[in-house]
């Protein structure tokens, strides 16, 4: 699979906390592809590389996704810092994503 366990990390300023994210997708389903693109744009713009993103293909590891409590795809889970958050959908509504991730927009 193309995006199997793609992990991207970036080293930003030491003071900034690293946001750990997991995106569950279903192979190349249109909504999944759109979610990846939307999330990458958001991260690039607002997290400035201060994040860790794991993309999980549910079609590849369905039982793991099930264990993680995933229902629909695409789903984005914010693992840390707390509070944890869950967002479903292709992340096209940018402001609700930012709000859910606790990223304040200047």
């Amino acid at each position: 699979m193309r995006r199997k366990k793609t992990t991207r990390s970036a080293s930003g300023p030491a003071v900034a906390t690293v946001v750990v994210l997991r995106l569950y997708i279903a192979d190349n389903a249109p909504n999944s592809l759109r979610a990846i693109a939307n999330l990458e744009a958001i991260c690039k713009e607002h997290l400035k590389g201060n994040f860790k993103l794991e993309i999980i293909d549910v079609l590849e590891t369905p039982l793991r996704a099930l264990a993680d409590g995933i229902l629909v795809t695409p789903s984005l889970a914010k693992m840390s810092p707390s509070p944890a958050a869950k967002i479903v959908g292709n992340l096209s509504d940018k402001s609700s994503v930012l709000h859910a991730l606790g990223i304040s927009v200047e």
Binding site: V72, K94, S96
Partner: protein, 603 residues
Amino acid sequence: MGGKKNAVPQILPKIATGIPGFDELSHGGLPRYRTSLLKGGPGSGKTVFALQSLVNAVRQRQEPGIFVAFEESTRQIIANAASFDWGLPALIKNKLFFLDAKLSPEVVQSGEFDLAGMLAMLKAKKEEIGAKWIVFDGIDVLLTLLQNPISEMREIYRIRDWLADNEVNAAIITAKIDGGTSEIVNYGFIQFMVDCVIRFERRLEHGVALHRLEITKYRGSDFVAGEFPVSFGPSGMEVGAPESAEIRQLASSERVSAGFERLDTMLGGGLFRGSSTLITGVPGTSKTTLAGKFAEAACRRGERTLFVSFDEAADRIARNLTSVGIHLKTHVKSGVLRMYSSRTETIGAEDHLVRLKTLIREHRPRCMVIDPISAIAKTGGIAAARAVANRFIYLAKDEKITVVVTAINEGDEPETETTDLQISTIADTWIHLSYLIRSGERNRALTIIKSRGTWHSNQVRELVLNDVGPMLADVYTAGGEVLMGTLRWEKEGEEKAKTTQRRAEFDHKRHELQAAEADTRARIKALEQDLERQRLELVTYSSDNEARIVSSSDREKELRRIRSADPAGRAATGIVPSPATRRASDSSGNSGRKNKRIAQDAP
């Protein structure tokens, strides 16, 4: 309906749900390897139907299943099902998989999503546990989150394709679709893509919830059309499938006591074993007493008996019946009698039926009382109540239970059976109790309106209650009116007095006649004595007279001799005195002289 008549005859494979009644209605259950849709409003029984089918598949055929819950949490569903004796928690451990597919309110939605991931997970789970059944419960909840008809349609297709690829014995989709309206835009398409559609309905009638089920579509198969009652008992859902048209009960010629001897006599020897008896009457006419007497008699014969009372506690009934000499408590203690009471308003008519079935299964009675069956009418729709009342009786008949049911009718005319349950037509025997009010008194009258297959009395009897139990008394008719109570008592007294008087009169007359006879005899005796006396007198008189005659002739002779008037010889020739001689003898003196002269001249 739904049958393809031109197709090559092919038996559509089906799989039983194990839900009592439904497999009969659908002629075998749900379509095998196909998808069925359960639609209906909230609380109409869709989830119970789906879950019960799943549970039955595991318990009866060891077929594991998956339950995807979109609307309720798994915990809620398990809690709701705890009232049924399914042993669900044990099944969840290894044979049933519940997917909590309810999106938590904390989940933020941003843009569109799809079910591709979920279906992949379900496929994996299905393969892992070897699931043969799958339920998507409350799919409408998920679809409405899609917010867009095109997406809805796409996901419906996705589910359909998934079901086609992942063959299971049966797939069930439930959706909240109330009376044809739905929040799902494409619900019409869902109906089209499935092979079987079952409509569920819950409606309130007179404050009581009634559940109904109807098969509205069954592709390639015949089914029983129409709406059928659904009830919920300890074992889950049950569908009131129509009774088989054929009546299989065997008629028994064995008689059992209706309670007491005189009533049995009126019924030509008692009730037939396995028959049904209806006792009607306005409140207070002793219907319960009569039914209680029947139950007591059954218990005394050692027959297991079930006494079902509605709206009155069993304990109170037992106590009240004690006052009329009917003792049920000892039989309850010995276990022969089971008394069960229930309020009617709180649950639907069908639920009563399920409970009754359970009671019959547990207690195995030979005789049964339902008092009053008319209370069922309070449980909502009259049509439902009527059907249930009839099924109560048919149920008893199928189990060969001799049943006595009572029914209150508000009026006092048995012909207008105002209970509306119309049980009188199916009951074998119909006893009607009524009041007769006359001369400031209310008395109970018992009539047997009908009793199938047996002679029965056409007489009205007075039902008399006392501390040794009910009795029947003959009634008097006077001037075309029936007399009861005090009037009967008076009439009885009157009759008694009359009899006494008649007897006295008779005695008197007899005495009179005897006296007269004696008198006559006495008179006869007296007359006979008279007669005897007279005869004796006569004899005496005759001999006296003779003697006198003899003596007088002797005297004449003597006289003549003395007078020397006649030769002795001559006087001797005439023994009987001649008048001349007597005259002569009477008159002496001159005439005698003259006679002597004549006599002298004559020769």
